[in-house]
């Protein structure tokens, strides 16, 4: 039996807030209910759940199955992984559905990422932390800034290229009622933003939020019977380079800070889908920090090396139409995948990309990460 084609059929969100005042499980359940309602699926039809968390900042899939009163599960995946997980989870859910191991899989991320444990400055378990935390090298903006300085140097780009990402993302966020950063930002405003970890200013950094986001993944055949146009999963890929480190903050065994995981998975991602970077109409790229967008644009082949900042300024390719994690809020990148779905479905509202047959989404910033290609159902 040939594998079945798979699609994302719906998305669901809670509001993104500074303090939800609610248990993470309630946020997850609300996003799950919203995603099923969006797709026109009854909760009882869910037979799979996949999610990720960092440390213990969320709830297991079994807890959500209980909260949703599901009759049973055929597929479950609790991944202890950070921002490199969302596309990977959708890809694994798609693989389960393609091979008949599940019919309707809910992929979610829920966290009180602002009022509770903040991922960016959390102390990760693992053996690498003993070399970082005691010396004050202890937060994600620092690690990514370390890469960013070298990346800008080797590619002949500068601070204004980081700023171009912040400015372009904010322009989208202004048009997105879900976004938490909606005050307009120009280059002067960017340059006036306070330094956090030079070369990063506050405006280079995502805004952590409380909330949840969920995607409903099912077979393409089933999706065609549901309420929304299917966003077909054309391809998914994961990549970690050699010696990816002892924990998610350890990067001293990686030699080259100027190329991230996207370069490693590009050929597999596009090859499996029978597409090329030139086919991409809209990009939804993980942006915990501005530099991640530039590196991923180049790694995916959407921009020439050293040309990502110019591409962002040109507006030739819509990138992070939700305003990114910088503007919409740090739902850890699940919201970035959801935006790619909305764009392919043509549901982007004021921020809809004019052409939206093919979207690429990424999860992750440095050594390891995942990506998805979504396309409309022709």
């Amino acid at each position: 039996m040939a594998d079945r084609a798979v699609a994302v059929a719906g998305v669901g969100y809670t509001p993104f807030t500074r303090s939800s005042g609610r248990p993470v499980l309630d946020l997850a359940a609300d996003a799950a209910v919203a995603a099923c309602a969006d797709a026109g699926l009854t909760l009882a039809e869910l037979d799979g759940i996949a999610s990720h968390m960092v440390g213990s900042d969320s709830e297991n899939c079994q807890a959500l199955a209980t909260a949703l009163a599901l009759p049973g599960l055929r597929f479950v995946l609790d991944l202890n992984q950070a921002g490199h997980a969302p596309c990977h989870l959708v890809g694994l859910a798609a693989a389960a559905i393609a091979t008949g191991r599940a019919e309707h899989v809910l992929v979610f991320r829920a966290l009180n990422g602002r009022s509770g444990t903040k991922v960016g400055s959390a102390r990760f378990p693992g053996r690498g932390g003993q070399y970082r935390y005691p010396i004050g090298y202890d937060a994600y903006p620092m690690y990514i800034a370390m890469w960013a300085r070298r990346y800008l140097h080797e590619t002949g780009q500068g601070i204004e290229d980081l700023g171009s990402v912040a400015v372009a993302h904010r322009a989208y966020a202004v048009r997105n009622e879900r976004a938490v950063q909606r005050r307009p930002l120009d280059m002067a405003g960017y340059l006036a933003s306070p330094m956090v970890a030079d070369p990063f200013r506050a405006a280079d950094c995502t805004t952590e939020v409380d909330g949840a986001c969920a995607l409903l993944v099912t077979s393409l055949d089933r999706a065609r019977d549901l309420a929304r146009p299917p966003a077909v999963v054309a391809s998914a890929a994961y990549r970690a380079g050699p010696r990816p480190g002892l924990d998610i903050g350890d990067h001293v065994l990686t030699g080259d800070y100027t190329r991230n995981f996207t370069e490693g998975l590009r050929d597999e991602l596009f090859g499996r889908a029978g597409l090329t970077p030139g086919d991409v109409d809209v990009a939804a790229l993980y942006d915990c920090f501005t530099s991640a967008v530039l590196m991923s644009l180049e790694g995916l082949g959407l921009a020439d090396r050293g040309g990502a900042g110019e591409l962002v300024r040109s507006g030739r390719l819509p990138v992070n139409t939700h305003g990114g994690l910088l503007g919409e809020g740090y739902l850890h990148g699940m919201n970035t995948v959801a935006e790619a779905v909305l764009q392919v479905q043509g549901r982007g509202g004021d921020r809809q990309a004019p052409d939206h047959e093919v979207a690429v989404a990424t999860s992750g910033a440095l050594m390891d990460g995942s990506a998805l290609l979504l396309r409309s159902d022709r």
Binding site: R132, G136, Y137, M146, H153, R243, L253, Y257
Partner: protein
């Protein structure tokens, strides 16, 4: 008056105990793989290039060059609030391994800048920092 909070000391494990103990004596002790001969950092049970188990520690001079650096302006841990702004650099030792460490007296830091070790002795552990060389 409340004392300034101190950084939490490292918690050495079976692999790293030798490294931390050596810093106390102002030595930099790194493991060398018996098969591929590479020095490695962080300390760990197998060589991350060839997976060979073990590897005796040996002292290295600790000179190297700056690969990249950041200037921390916002402390995320209260223990470092009085230190800002401070520089953290990734340094490629002449013997190969890369370390992330604090750079003292960082004025003039640049890509490829030569650095040498400077040991900081805290109450119950010792920290390897670097200073610009020459």
């Amino acid at each position: 008056m409340t004392a300034r909070p101190r950084p939490a000391p490292p918690e050495p494990d079976a692999d790293s105990a030798t490294f931390w103990a050596a810093l106390r004596e102002e030595r930099i002790a790194l493991q060398r793989c018996s098969a591929c001969q590479r020095l490695r950092f962080p300390p760990m049970g197998r060589c991350p290039w060839c997976a060979t188990s073990g590897g005796a520690a040996e002292d290295v001079p600790g000179t190297g060059s700056v690969y990249s650096w950041i200037v921390v302006h916002r402390a995320f841990d209260e223990a470092f609030a009085a230190d800002v702004p401070y520089v953290v650099a990734t340094v490629d030792l002449d013997e190969g391994p890369r370390l992330a460490l604090r750079l003292d007296e960082p004025d003039g830091v640049d890509f490829g800048a030569r650095v040498r070790p400077r040991f900081h002795h805290h109450e119950d552990w010792s920290e390897l920092r670097m200073v610009l060389d020459g």
